[in-house]
Amino acid sequence: MKRFRYAVAVAAAAVLALTACSANNDTGGGDSGVAADGTATVKAKELTVWTSTGDQPYVREAYKNFEQKFGVKVNLVEITADGLENQVQTKWASGDRPDLLEYHATALFWALNPAKNMIEMSNMPYVQRSGELYKTAGSLDGKIYAAITVGPGLFGMYYNKKVLADAGLSAPKTYADLENICTTLKQKAPGVATIYEAGGSQWPTQIQILMNLAGAEKSQNYSGELLTKKATLDDPAGPFVAALTQYKKLQSMGCFNKDATTAKSEPSFKALADGKAAFLPQSTSSLPQLTAVYGDDLAKASAAIGWASPSASSTTSAWSPSFNGTWYVPKTGNADRESTALAFIQWITTDGYQDYLTSTKRFPALTGATATTPTGINQEFWNAYEADKALAVNANLVGFSAQFPTLMSGLLSGQYTPEQAAKLAQEALAQGAKSAHVTGW
């Protein structure tokens, strides 16, 4: 019996040890006291960066340039673009931290508890050259955690110029125009899907709603009203239900591809280029995927494909801060590495910024550098952004973004009516807002 008692005691000790480990919710690296004011220097020999497999080539080039200039080895941890947010959250929750994190500047990063886990960069010099960007992106409770280095991406629709021209049509300015185009195309080009919807990938189904709501965001600060409870997503007379209803109407009119519920995003660019679809809802960040279909020839792609930004009743573009080239510096507890990560931010936003911006071929997020004169479809992006824009409605709707793609997939498949989907969306927003301790929730 002595041995039995001994075994029980050992087991109990093991349980207590495990309990002690698990009860400790402090998974961050702690504060090493490195100053985030532009004075940090390169002290470590290597940096670990979490990045997406769908990352843009110019970001990879920036890492290589940093390696060459400072002799720091950059270890890339590539996380699959499909479900990236879930994977980052999972790794993060287990206490794993990179030295640099490339991530969204929307409310999605709030779920990483930045106040505890990230170095605040409000006093970094680049902030002064960013205008009012951080009032709506990369910040929480007035503190800035992100370094956003390139201009925002827009949500809109690529369109096949030849398909529209052959049917005697021009680009839509509103969703009403889009309905009319669909009706005409179904008569004149019955083999062409007016809009390619990728329900199998889920996330692209959000884009049309964000586009549709851009006008409401601009005219009435819709997301602000939602966060302050002046409006609700499930208001039957509200913009959200109207956008979902219009989306469903387009589907019932036969304006989407036949396999809209299961189609994946990857083949959509070729379908557009081949004229099998007239419109493709996308983000401007996907341009490299589009040009890849044309052998990476921007001029050729621009000759065939145009860009439209129809909203409910206006031509307002929905913009979202870029994922690519947006970095955070997590607290790792390693002062040398934190200092080196901050030095990278300092370099990419100052000495290295002009070369970096040139390689991006995008408009700048910071003053003090000259953007490459946009050409082709890039010029169309620029024009759309300059003409009329509003922050994408979902950017700061905490909790909502997590459920939005699923709800859209349910709407598309007929599982939910617009009203049901809107009700569930409001519940998701309430859950997120409570978790994030948003005032009034």
């Binding site: 019996m1 041995r3 039995f4 075994a7 087991a11 093991a14 349980v15 495990l18 309990t19 698990s22 009860a23 919710n25 402090d26 479900g83 947010e85 879930n86 994977q87 959250q89 999972t90 993060w92 929750a93 709030w110 779920a111 990483l112 508890n113 505890k116 329900g199 199998g200 889920q202 036949k258 396999d259 809209a260 519920t261 299961t262 905490v398 909790g399 997590a402 459920q403 699923t406 709800l407 997939s409 349910g410 709407l411 598309l412 498949s413 599982q415 939910y416 569930l424 519940e427 998701a428 859950q431 409570k434 978790s435 994030a436 301790h437």
Partner: protein, 315 residues
Amino acid sequence: MTYAPSDTAPAAQGRAEPSLAPRRPRQRKIGQGGWWPFIVPAFALVAAFFTVPFLLNLRFAFTDWSGYSDVISFNGLENFRALISQDILWQAIKVTLLYAVLAMIIQNLFSLSMALVLQRSNRVNGFFRSFFFLPVLVAPVAAGYIWGAILAPQGPLNSFISLFVGGFDYAWLGHGTSALVSLAFVDAWKWSGLITLVYIAGLNNIPESLTEAATVDGANAWQRFWRIRFRLLAPAFTFTVVVTMLGAINAFDLVAATTRGGPGTATMVLNIAMFNQYGSGFFGMASSLSLVVTVLVIVLGLPLIAYLRRREVEA
């Protein structure tokens, strides 16, 4: 281990020479409780990797633990209320149970049929046993992607059907019911090779004299199967039904790779719902769903095993 002759044998024989039973005390020790060292490794592993994590996780199911804050507060049943109001909890339970029952039925029907065909050991059957076992070796995620492509509207399955029904382009994974049934079939495809082997072993354990006697008594093939072989397969049946059903309740990777729980939430099994919550930073909600999975396994598993074991005895 009730046999302890060393206690009684010498006395019964009226002799008092202890040296006559030199090794018996060791046997007595095992018989009186010396078994526990053998169970300790299994107990420790289950405790360390199941019981303790489960107990530790239990409390989080009733807290507001999230990635948004490092303060964890008790919030009673609020997580369950939120999961119900968002149409997640009941929907995920319903989908999980439907999927588990479908997968269990399809797998067992298919595997038992295969076992009856491939029962005899010969070269041809050996080849087909190996052939049908191959999907077991395929990673569930890979199987999900493969079947996602096969079941696509323009995929090979519809191309084949189009040979008979022109222009057939049904989206198998694009409609709630067909998506769930398709997934259950894919799960059956994945695991049937293993279950078939269990049934073959069970069939081979049935004495041939019984079926021969039944044949002599005039029983036809169906009667021999239903009255004799099926009933004596009870132990194998217990194993396969429990494993396939409880395995399906814990489904994740195959569903994640094929439909991600869609369209909408039509194939959102509990583990997918849990992953979505966890991946969105709502750890307390994910813990609540994790608790539901465990409760579901216990509530369904224990009575099911008890019933099937009783059936074994009756058989």
